[in-house]
Amino acid sequence: MQVNGADDELNPGGLHPFMGKGRIVAGCIAPHPPHLVYAENPPQNEPVAEGGWEQLRWGYERLRASLADKDYDAIVLLSPHWQTYVGTHFLGLPHFEGLSVDPIFPNLFRYHYDMNVDVDLAKAIHDEAEAAGLPVKMMENPDFRVDYGTITTGHLFNPDWDKPLVVISSNRSTAYYSVEVMQEIMIELGKVTRKAIEASGKKVVVLASNSLSHRHFTTESEMPEDMSKEHITSHAMHLWDMRMIDYMRSGQAQRILDEMPEFTEQAIAESDGGGLSWLLSTLDVPDYPAILHGYGTIIGTGNAVVEWPCYAHEEEQA
């Protein structure tokens, strides 16, 4: 695949020379285990729980509070559960509604969704990516069922669903080639995402919807929300998660990218879907600290709710 460099049209500092209004307000890791929605008992979800996974749900609460007074126009989200093997796809119709049933945890997640898409921004990112040589496609089939990763993260980040989304599929280049090739593609996709956002004049929050370590239990307790049974699957997974979180909290995003192949392989991390690499590239590989709003395990996988407060960094720079 020939990928044209997009950064030669960008300033090293990241802001586009002829565009100043569009900007990224914040970037977040916003994991999507359906257990969190299940535990919260929103009216859109059919199953009923007694609670559970509070550390992460409180983490999402802190994230929402952190951004409550920030003005933004749209949410750009990359979901590893819209898995595409042929290029990268974007939701391309203004409205989707339906029932999302998790094929793996249907006992927990049967959610009636109703969401709007910022098709203009989606098309703008699509076009920039195409110009950069990435294979891309707009998804314009009205029967399409939006993946449960998008719905879960969409709900947890913005339960009111009052902001339009741009939803980007997860290209499976790690599985086809390697983490290195995936990163090359996702870093390029991140650059063009940033470029399109800046050119759009819109204020945007970007979300990578993924876990960190991702080795599941293969059994489920009789009551899924029984927190006495919840823990990380292994010490090695814990060490990897803490290592990555340390890098995030100390402003060392480049080290995350550098260690992505080992992390992805050894922690069986969901970063294989490219979301984390894409996010860091979209944020121009931040060297300022991220805010850890919460960490917890879900059926053995490691999950963190993390925010890079771009707004604060910009104010500091100014």
Partner: protein, 482 residues
Amino acid sequence: MSEGGVVASFVVPVHPHTVLAPDMNPGWRALRDAYDSAAQTIRDLEADLLIIYSTTWPSIIGHQIQADPNPEWVMVDHDFHDLGSIPYSFNIDAEFAHAWDDANRNRGLQSRCVNYKGFPIDVGSVVALTLLNPDNSIPAVIVSSNMYANRTETTVLAKSCLDVIKSQGRRAVAITAMSLSNRMFTDFIEPAEDKIHSLKDDEWNLKILEFLEQGRLEDVGQLSRTIHRQIRVQKVVAFKPMWWLSAMNGNRNDLTGNVLAYEAIHGAGGAVVHVDPTSTGVGDKEYDEDDVEYFHGERGVLDTGAETEEANADDPPDEPVGNAPQEPAPEVNGPALWDPTQTEGSVNTDAAPKPVGAYPHARRVGDMLYLSGVGPRQPGTNAIPGGPIHDENGEPLNYDIKAQTHAVVENVRRIVEEAGARFDQVVDVTTFLVDMKRDFAGYNEVWAETLGHVGPTRTTLAIDALPTPIAVEMKVIVHLGE
């Protein structure tokens, strides 16, 4: 009721092109024609059940079986959404699904049925059922492909399915919805440009098809891991459908195969293959992997009931540890469990079940190793492969002596290896059976396959009972010298 069985097996491709766009490419049309031919064969065979193992329905928590009698929705492919939508309304045999679910759990598998309105039936199953059963006249069942399942587990999944087919007297068709090579082009192509992704993929596909044409399904199963490494995208569910399909056909190599079509679908290898159970009379001698009837692998991640702090093996005390018994795990109706004692020469391991009294797993004296009586209980979970012989009220239960004996042998192996010895250094075994008449044949069969190859002397005794609800226990002596 006549005895049931698998009357045919099919390998079919998963992508939606054969349903939505067969005439956009001659190869897609050939696959569609082959699909239609397969559908006619199924009708001619008067099959009364279609069983689909789909690689495009991955699962994590054990095995999921579709049990909604009439799932309805509109399926749109994540990649090929521009080809259109496939509305579906299927006829699912919910009774069979629940029976299979029960049979799975009887054989030690984690399993559950799913019956939820709006459940997203996967693309492979939608394509296969749409084309193989267009009028919904034949009830179907769909099973997921577990991401973490190995060959043993996948084989047991097939055997539990066969249990139900036989008990219900069904004429079943086993179907794997799968690609051969599954590497698609990563860029968009015109339909006319379609071809197999690479020459290497094509060569491997042709080799697989040559085996299948010769009815050598088990050989393909044994090559599964190699095939997966060579021509498959790694993070999907391996080439394990061939394990399932081979087990559904008795792990045979003398089947009658017929390749109806082989073409590319966006670079992936799509094939429609009919495997007839009729024996060709040749080539059925190659099945050399250990057979398995019951799954007792790692599935108890959440079960912590039997886990307690272990004595520090690095710092053995001079005197036996005065350890207190603990409550038995809920899976076992039997006496309390103890930590194994630690004295000079003791050999203990977490990989063997906890004792039911104050004794070690084994004790080394000179160049001899003496094992305490070893039963089939599983370390950690305390579960009994093959099932307990009676319930907590003493009511007798049906159990599998072969599964229990296999588990005993594995526990013996773990203790022997913990001592740094080899399994082939076992020199003498005394076996205790609680029901000699019922169990001797099954026990003896497993012995021949395992310890029989090692060659220890053996004494088999009938006894009245054992402390836990097990049917077999072995007392083993090992000579550690060369």
